[in-house]
Symmetry: C2
Subunit: 406 residues, 2 copies
Amino acid sequence: NVKGDRLWDSLMEMAKIGATEKGGCCRLALTDLDKEGRDLFSNWCKEAGCTIKVDKMGNIFARRAGTRDDLPPVMMGSHLDTQPTGGKYDGVFGVLAGLEVLRTLNDFDVKTEHPVEVAVWTNEEGSRFAPAMVASGVFAGVFDLDYGLSRADLDGKTMGEELKRIGYAGTEEVGGREIKAFFEAHIEQGPILEHEEKTIGVVMGAQGQRWYEITITGQEAHAGPTPMARRKDALVAASKIITEVNRIGLDNQPFACATVGLIQSSPNSRNTIPGKVFFTVDFRHPKDEILSKMDAELRAFAEKTASEGGFEMAFEEIWYSPPVEFDKDCVNAVRKGAEIAGFSHMDIISGAGHDACYISRVAPTGMIFVPCENGISHNEEEEATPEDLAAGCNVLLHAIVERANI
Amino acid sequence: NVKGDRLWDSLMEMAKIGATEKGGCCRLALTDLDKEGRDLFSNWCKEAGCTIKVDKMGNIFARRAGTRDDLPPVMMGSHLDTQPTGGKYDGVFGVLAGLEVLRTLNDFDVKTEHPVEVAVWTNEEGSRFAPAMVASGVFAGVFDLDYGLSRADLDGKTMGEELKRIGYAGTEEVGGREIKAFFEAHIEQGPILEHEEKTIGVVMGAQGQRWYEITITGQEAHAGPTPMARRKDALVAASKIITEVNRIGLDNQPFACATVGLIQSSPNSRNTIPGKVFFTVDFRHPKDEILSKMDAELRAFAEKTASEGGFEMAFEEIWYSPPVEFDKDCVNAVRKGAEIAGFSHMDIISGAGHDACYISRVAPTGMIFVPCENGISHNEEEEATPEDLAAGCNVLLHAIVERANI
Ligand SMILES: NC(=O)NCCC(=O)O
Ligand SMILES: NC(=O)NCCC(=O)O
């Protein structure tokens, strides 16, 4: 079995990097803090006897040699970047659970035929740079390298520039190599396991996502002497669309999710009618047909709002990630691991996207969920218990041992 | 008569300070650029033989001595600060028209019994620091000095600190002295004069204003695995209120204006449900009863939205500026000036607030409007013709000469 205390201590140590007042973490992708987190992880892996390689997207691979080191590796991992007001577990758990598995193999001096790797995927969150899971996407051939390196934050800084700046623009090619199996452990980020009182979620797949960027351009004018009838208030138009996004989410139940997470209004002055508003839309559904229906509803409403109000509109779907089904054998390995270890478990569909979603296109893939308090994530108050985290890590250990051939 | 070319050249010279690509101006209150503008104005006034005094709110008074210099001054003026995407004329015209009047008095070697002053009022726009007209408000005793100096921008910097930083924290007491009459020339900032084809607006008064700050607090959570039914999306609540603000404006016609000019959403991440949204509301109406009715409608809707959705709400009315009526004699002096000079004119109510609104509480006050292109202001494309600006300046000259006793 893994050492739950050691896993917990590592999680708490990593959580100091970018710790926020409210007990969360702000360690945005490719910032100085992200570099600190990456360095800490790399040092821990070196201490555990691993070799470290970094690819051109900044993905880190810590490798424990196999007895037949030419065989494709069995891989674990997740991400170290967080939301601006993120928690201590989202992503970090999957990375440090991987490390804990390696440390446990060392403890018992277990030799595996296949090498075992822990991956840290760059910019999974999609918060500083959109879209999410961009570097695992490049690894899986979903995006090309140029696309990945040219993703820019709201200040125009690109991932390529920022990787160089923090010293994580590696030399390895991104992807293109065989992986025997990939497993990602993660907090659920939703309320289902807690509600059903299960310790382990056996993840069957993930829902689909569509992300949009919308810019509405009206006309700046003085809030006082400009009659209502002459206005082109871009924020009023945006507010109608935001309300409609919410309506679309509510009317496509069960399962639909619809969110406007980011908005920027310009010139953002109290007594000037907003001339330009930029905002994003995040749509999710496990069924592709419903996701398409939501897409059509949004487009129709946005176009109507823009044309009726005389606004210019730039409407771009910037990301489509179709629903994912994980590999049956990997799913079974997770379920079997939970049974052997004696944890209550249930099958579950992931509401969030994960690096595993993209890796599943190039390798047999499975995921392990553990509960988080009140289903809350992307929030500084995100919490999970040491017991549940250790349980998830033990299931990961079982799956890895099964696949790496002792 | 004034020299229209000289006025125009000064306007264009001042417009270089903070000039934007689209031909506008960004010279926010108490920035380095505001200091540059103030320095330029002060130097011009010294060249015109004036003495300069600065008060504790940073208001600048350039004074041309009278033959009976103990008499209270006749005063002109406006402001040099602009909106973030402001124009070249809003405020600046009233200041430089004042300077042009002084230069014209010098040209013809006219002696006045009363001293004549040109005032530059600090932070009229209310964009960097809310509320608007704060320093003329302190001058008029509407706000106390501590209130004025402690107004803070969104980064927490106060007017007091910023006045010191740019060297315009003067030593003169703010207000408390007699002014014989105050006249402010300004572009209309609305479409009426242009539509009615009149050169001069004889300003009878200004509509009332109420400004609000609203903060909605919900709960940050992940945009993917958080079911719609469990969400407290602060941006959805804010969007409903913004749509209602617009509805209140539309339903209280004629005359009502209703604007949400500023919004900040937090954490502003594409895949996180917004946990907190801060926004402002600007309500205007010439009739106080209707303004109160708009206030009641907003409060009721905001409270309902917050309580139904389980949001916390901080709702604060941060500014109330009642409708203003200008002094009959000053209004007549403006109308007479337009008639003598032979300009078409009409009576008009100001849609915007002006420093003159507060000064009217402590001195007989009048205002002169000239048309602006398409009624557009608080926009980099703000335009006015040299002819109309010269006409407004000539009317100002007439009013001053009448009041200052040659
Ligand atoms: N796990 C996670 O929070 N991923 C971010 C991508 C998404 O928004 O689903
Ligand atoms: N004149 C002008 O733009 N004043 C700003 C204050 C207001 O919003 O009315």
